[in-house]
């Protein structure tokens, strides 16, 4: 029986990227806090907001915001915003430190908008930065 091309020797352990970790500070506007509370829908005691960055988008990185049950991962920093727990992973901390989160209502959709002082550029839709 053959092992297949992926069954032999010489493979490395999973690659781990070293990233700079900083203490994250976030700025939410009053509108953003109001919109966030509406979205939490009373689940503040069990759920948290995770703000993260992932590759993609026109400029290299995309913002992502999720309301999830408190993650088990110990790599998160926790910031309290008006009673709501906001989590940012250490690996994203240098990219997201100092961001300002606003909420805009427009007839064309609107939603949370992020201004990032660490970004050299952003794409037209505002969801991607680099």
């Amino acid at each position: 029986m053959t092992m297949g091309i992926l069954g032999g020797d010489g493979f490395s352990l999973p690659v781990v990227s070293e990233t700079e970790v900083v203490d994250v500070k976030l700025n939410f506007t009053d509108k953003a806090i109001h919109a966030l509370k509406q979205n939490m829908n009373g689940d503040e005691s069990t759920h948290v907001l995770v703000i993260s960055a992932q590759s993609g988008g026109c400029s290299g990185y995309l913002y992502d915001m999720k309301i999830v049950e408190k993650p088990e991962d110990e790599g998160f920093q926790q910031i309290s915003i008006d009673g709501i727990k906001v989590f940012v992973h250490n690996k994203d901390s240098s990219m997201l430190n100092g961001i300002q989160i606003d909420f805009k209502e427009t007839l064309m959709g609107g939603g949370f908008q992020i201004e990032n002082p660490n970004a050299d550029r952003a794409c037209g839709c505002g969801q991607s930065f680099g």
């Binding site: 053959t2 092992m3 297949g4 091309i5 992926l6 069954g7 032999g8 020797d9 010489g10 493979f11 490395s12 352990l13 999973p14 690659v15 781990v16 990227s17 990233t19 995770v50 993260s52 992932q54 590759s55 993609g56 988008g57 026109c58 400029s59 290299g60 990185y61 995309l62 992502d64 999720k66 999830v68 993650p71 991962d73 790599g75 998160f76 992973h89 690996k91 994203d92 550029r121 794409c123 037209g124 839709c125 969801q127 991607s128 680099g130």
Partner: protein
């Protein structure tokens, strides 16, 4: 193939090989390449471009889906940077491990008009080769790739089985190519090298087929979309064919236009080069450089 590709030659390719495993691996790669890969079936090879936010090519790769994992072959020069792009861009909740396979898997590229003969020698009859179809044979995989100047067969296999495979090749009277010979045949067949395409736009390199305009955002997408709808290709990557020796570098044609030769090789009074030229200068099919005429053909990858 055009001419001068000898029968039965092989070259041991140096590449960056990365194995991605985990349910989200395909999404992690799909977000950063210009080619839509999520819909491709298993057992199929896909060529992809990595671009910067200006739409310029930073790396080129091939993706093979094997045993629910993904094998990424990318350039040796940019291997670690491409890996860092992938690992840094993984979200906190995505399942995707990157494993370096440079010391585990080897790549042999075969040039021959008769790919079947090597399979027959290995005891496998009637293997149907199709462009970019990944065929698993024992512990190895075989993929036929087509380029503007001909076809090649890539064999990927565990490095610890490489010497046995080379013994089979040499018994079949295949000869190993030197670096110079490989470069000559590579140019003849028009196999893209990062040296030739890095920093250029895909349309300049004849690689618009590696841009998926329907996949949404990826680095460089805004520029590519604008080029597709309103852009004009000003420069093109071309194959130069002539009889005089030539060297890489930036020159002026006899009419004063710039030409940038990124790769070149000569053998038996035939010279090939890959150069970037103004589109206006290639309309006649010939250019004059230092009083010597060169045939020019824009390269368009399949």
């Amino acid at each position: 193939m055009r001419k001068n590709a000898s029968e039965g030659e092989y070259f041991l390719r140096s590449q960056s090989l990365t194995l991605l495993q985990g349910n989200d691996s395909i999404n992690v790669i799909d977000r950063v390449v210009s080619t839509r890969i999520v819909d491709y079936p298993d057992s199929h090879g896909i060529d992809v471009l990595f671009c910067d936010f200006n739409g310029r090519i930073t790396d080129i790769g091939s993706i093979y889906k094997i045993q629910e994992k993904i094998l990424l072959l990318s350039s040796e020069e940019m291997g670690n940077i491409t890996r860092k792009t992938l690992i840094d861009g993984k979200s906190w909740d995505e399942k995707c491990d990157l494993i370096i396979a440079d010391e585990a898997i080897g790549r042999v590229t075969l040039f021959t008009p008769d790919f079947q003969s090597i399979f027959t020698r290995m005891g496998h009859q009637g293997i149907e080769l199709e462009r970019n179809r990944v065929i698993e044979i024992d512990d190895m995989i075989a993929v036929k790739s087509e380029f503007p100047g001909g076809s090649v067969l890539d064999i990927l296999l565990p490095l610890n089985q490489m010497s046995d495979f080379i013994t089979i090749l040499e018994a079949a009277e295949y000869s190993e190519m030197s670096e110079d010979r490989w470069n000559f045949v590579r140019l003849l067949v028009c196999i893209p090298n990062l040296t030739d395409i890095s920093g250029n736009l895909p349309n300049e390199c004849g690689m618009v087929n590696l841009i998926s305009n329907d996949k949404g955002c990826y680095p460089g997408q805004e520029v590519h979309a604008r080029l597709e709808s309103r852009g004009k290709t000003v420069k093109r990557l071309c194959l130069l064919t002539g009889e005089a020796p030539i060297s890489p570098g930036k020159y002026r044609l006899s009419n004063g236009s710039p030409i940038h030769i990124s790769s070149c090789e000569s053998s038996d009074n035939v010279s090939y080069g890959i150069a970037k030229l103004r589109v206006d200068d290639i309309e006649t099919g010939y250019v004059s450089l230092d009083g010597v005429n060169w045939k020019v053909e824009p390269i368009t990858y399949l």
